[in-house]
């Protein structure tokens, strides 16, 4: 078992990055009226998408910010015109309405064409990124991910062939989250975002997940990887990501599709290790499962019953 370093625990389901003027203003306004405590800011005060640690998540973040700023720009113009009208053309100030201004084909054509151009500007890089996202070819490690109510099963292929385990909400979170448990969630490390056995993957490697489900629809999501896809019974959905070398650590996410009573309690935790450490981990897993399989001469309980 690898010792988890303190630095690993600096995981982010999201990290505040990329200030936007509008949002900052809003936060400042809220802080001013004392609604939030910005002084004690910690990572939980996230308000934007994480940049993430994969090429895909960074591209998503860049596209998100591009579209966001375009929207802000349009908002400034449109809201500016509205506010100007509300301030200037007031009945109480004796404004005289210009009742002849009812129609202008020229203006209407202009404000139909300009949005079309803006949309094309947004759509082209988006389409590009979709192509990239969907390209699951040449993956170096495939893992089959199966959703259950309410846990994930990870079955490794390729270099990890034979490694197969379940990942469920960690015991301390599970205890604290019970109705009337009396435990303050703030005292539980990584409350609701920790599992008994995380998915372990190597960094610098193109990992492909094959997602399916044994009961209802789930969705596997790690924001820092820009990776979200539904796990649907009867379907195998594909997803890929490649965590940059040097970004080893623990990354957290959650099931993103309503899957019943404990939908809120099936986190996804991924432990990214260097390829060497990953190899070692796979060996350990194989050795451990051999050990577990050794006393298998004893018939399994079901067989005993039959005898």
């Amino acid at each position: 078992m690898r010792v988890i370093r303190a630095s690993d625990i600096d995981h982010r389901i999201s990290r505040p990055r990329g200030f936007s003027g509008a949002i900052a203003l809003c936060i400042a306004a809220l802080a001013a009226v004392g609604l939030i405590d910005t002084a004690g800011a910690n990572t939980s005060n996230g308000y934007n998408l994480p940049m993430g640690v994969t090429d895909l998540s960074q591209n998503m973040y860049a596209l998100h910010m591009e579209v966001f700023w375009i929207c802000v720009g349009i908002a400034v113009v449109v809201f500016g015109v509205m506010i100007y009208s509300m301030v200037t053309f007031r009945h109480s100030k004796g404004a005289i309405p210009d009742t002849t201004m009812v129609h202008s084909t020229k203006v209407e054509i202009i404000w139909t064409i300009i949005p079309v151009i803006i949309l094309v500007v947004m759509a082209v890089p988006a389409a590009d990124l979709i192509l990239k996202q969907e390209d699951t070819r040449n993956s170096e490690l495939s893992i089959r991910v199966t959703g259950f109510q309410w846990k994930w099963q990870y079955q490794y292929m390729d270099a990890g062939e034979g490694v197969d385990f379940f990942s469920t909400l960690k015991q301390d979170s599970n205890f604290a989250r019970q109705l009337g448990s009396g435990v303050d969630p703030k005292t539980v490390p990584n409350y609701l975002l920790d599992v008994d056995k995380p998915l372990v993957i190597p960094s610098g490697t193109k990992v492909r997940l094959l997602l399916t489900s044994m009961d209802v629809i789930h969705a596997w999501w790690v924001p820092d990887f820009g990776a979200k896809r539904s796990a649907i019974p009867g379907y195998v959905n594909e997803l890929w990501f490649k965590v940059e070398s040097g970004k080893e650590g623990i990354y957290r996410g959650q099931c993103a599709a309503l899957c019943g009573r404990d939908h809120g309690f099936m986190p996804v935790v991924v432990d990214v290790r260097t390829p060497d450490d990953f190899k070692k981990w796979v060996e350990e897993q194989k050795a451990a499962s051999k050990q577990a399989a050794a006393p298998a001469d004893v018939p399994p309980p079901s067989a005993q019953v039959l005898n």
């Binding site: 591209n59 596209l63 579209v67 929207c71 969907e134 989250r177 435990v183 009867g234 809120g264």
Partner: protein, 531 residues
């Protein structure tokens, strides 16, 4: 011939009688105003029931950890909140407004099919009694989300049959309401009122009615397949039996996306009535407004896939649905620009209906922006199923549809009751609602972007602050709505007499303002002249 004449006379007498006394007036109502009133009262009650569920949701989410309810009950609340608000509050209130206003605006004596009108209303209390009673049966209410995705929805107990039957009833009611609107508009317009002279509210409802007739049967089909899967051993959506759970999503959202526009197009119509009145200037680009509504309605049929990007879809389909969805921004933009141009060089005054309409304009546009962001497939993978989506659709539905409904009520209430309401209270209601609705929903954008999934009863501690802010906004918004009821009740009971034009000094246009306030029980028994 003689027989026909006798029937005509009887019919004639019936119409000119005073309203029936007591409960009979309402049970056997065929008068469009009575039925409109019942629809509006019903939807107001549902607004508070759905709102109470939202309060439970926000109370549980006030702090991390589970304090109040079991996760299973929490899921029932989110599911029922949506079903009640969509099918019980927003849709019936638009039908109520249509009932009241369409005959007045087209100069017709009543809706074309008054008995069907009665039937379509009286189905609703039964439908919602069935739906709400599931809260008290063993196994509880539907808890799989209002989208009713199998296999989760089918894991339920007895609620499956009850919820599906309730949805069937609501669908039947909506279809009848829609038929009535279309027949009234097509056949009962006053002579001289050609379609392009028709008020924008009627236009928006005409197009909405076609959407309803097109998609409610699709929903009925989808839920019927759920029913047979659950009770009769079919495998439409059961993968183990060779079925396809994704097919449900396709069928559902083929209904679901036009449904979104069913809840917003009449709001567009309302705003297009109110802004010109209080800008004292005709609506800018009225014809292009109609084309914009029609193209939004058309596009709504070819965008359903954008609800399902993360569920796995061929590359070409992803690109297609992204493009078609973004295209909706064009006619929607035209509408916002036309509204802005209507205010430009106008003479604006800020009565409560105008305040709500202006709030709609700003906040609906914010919902539109997040809609464009959600359409971009690659980043939708990050937004989808998070609070960002929750923030988006609440921005278009609450300060969008609901504020438009409130604007309409404040606009036409004096015409309905004959009294002016308390402007001060109504303005207080406006300011509290507008402030709290933003405190409630704006932080949900941050929560979603920071990674909080929707539909969870408990969350990791880094989401605590914004959830607390959002909950405070929620309680404030909920409490503010009590003022709305007070204003309405006061106005029904009495108040300053309203003139026929109601908004003296502003420029309300339309036939409804030619009638005295309150509008007489039977109006336009002779068709008005349209110049």
């Amino acid at each position: 011939m003689a027989h026909d004449h006798a029937a005509d006379t009887a019919h004639h007498d019936d119409h000119h009688g005073e309203p029936a006394k007591g409960i009979k007036r309402w049970l056997f109502a065929t008068n469009h105003k009575d039925i409109g009133t019942m629809y509006l009262v019903f939807s107001l009650i549902m607004f508070f029931i759905g709102g109470a569920m939202a309060m439970i949701i926000r109370a549980e989410l006030f702090k991390p950890g589970l304090q109040l309810v079991d996760p299973a009950f929490f899921n029932q609340m989110t599911t029922m909140h949506a079903l009640v608000m969509i099918f019980g509050a927003v849709m019936p209130s638009f039908v109520g407004l249509a009932n009241w206003m369409i005959p007045l605006q087209v100069g017709a004596p009543d809706m074309a099919l008054p008995r069907m009108n009665n039937f379509s209303f009286w189905i609703l209390p039964f439908a919602f009694t069935i739906l709400l009673s599931t809260l008290f049966i063993p196994g509880g209410a539907p808890a799989g989300g209002w989208t009713m995705y199998p296999p989760l929805f089918l894991q339920g107990g007895n609620y499956v049959a009850m919820a599906i039957f309730a949805v069937h009833l609501m669908g039947a009611s909506s279809i009848m309401g829609a038929i009535n609107v279309i027949v009234t508009i097509m056949n009962m317009r006053a002579p001289g009122m050609n379609l392009l002279k028709m008020p924008l509210f009627c236009w928006s409802w005409l197009i909405t009615a076609y959407l309803l007739i097109a998609v409610m049967p699709v929903l009925a089909g989808a839920v019927t397949m759920l029913l047979t899967d659950h009770y009769f051993g079919t495998s439409f959506f059961n993968a183990a039996g060779g079925g396809d759970p994704l097919m449900f999503e396709h069928v559902f959202w083929f209904f679901g996306h036009p449904e979104v526009y069913i809840m917003i197009l009449p709001a567009f119509g309302i705003i297009s009535e109110i802004l010109p009145t209080f800008s004292r200037k005709p609506l800018f680009g009225a014809t292009s407004m109609i084309y914009a509504i029609a193209s939004i309605a058309f596009l709504s049929f070819i965008v359903w896939g954008h609800h399902m990007f993360v569920d796995g879809m061929p590359l070409a389909a992803q690109v297609f649905f992204m493009m078609s969805t973004m295209l909706i921004a064009v006619p929607t933009g035209v509408k916002v620009f036309n509204w802005s141009a209507t205010m430009w060089r106008g003479s604006l005054s800020f009565e409560p209906p105008m305040l709500f309409a202006l709030s709609f304009l700003f906040l609906f546009t914010i919902g539109g922006f997040s809609g464009v962001m959600l359409a971009i497939v690659p980043v939708d993978f990050q937004y989808n199923q998070t609070y960002f989506v929750v923030a988006h659709f609440h921005y278009v539905l609450v300060p969008g549809a609901v504020f438009a409904i409130m604007a309409a009520v404040y606009y036409w209430l004096p015409k309905w009751t004959g009294h002016m309401y308390s402007m001060g209270l109504a303005k207080t209601h406006f300011w509290l609602s507008t402030i709290f609705v933003n405190v409630l929903f704006f932080p949900q954008h941050f929560l979603g972007l920071a990674g909080m999934p929707r539909r969870i009863p408990d969350y990791a501690v880094q989401f605590s602050d914004w959830n607390m802010v959002s909950s405070i906004g929620g309680f404030g918004f909920g409490l503010s709505q009590i003022l709305f009821v007070i204003v309405i009740v006061q106005c029904v009971r009495g108040g300053k007499k309203a003139s026929a034009e109601v908004w003296d000094g502003a420029t309300p246009t339309g036939l409804e303002w030619t009638l005295p306030s309150p509008a007489p029980y039977h109006s336009f028994s002779e068709a008005p002249e349209i110049r």
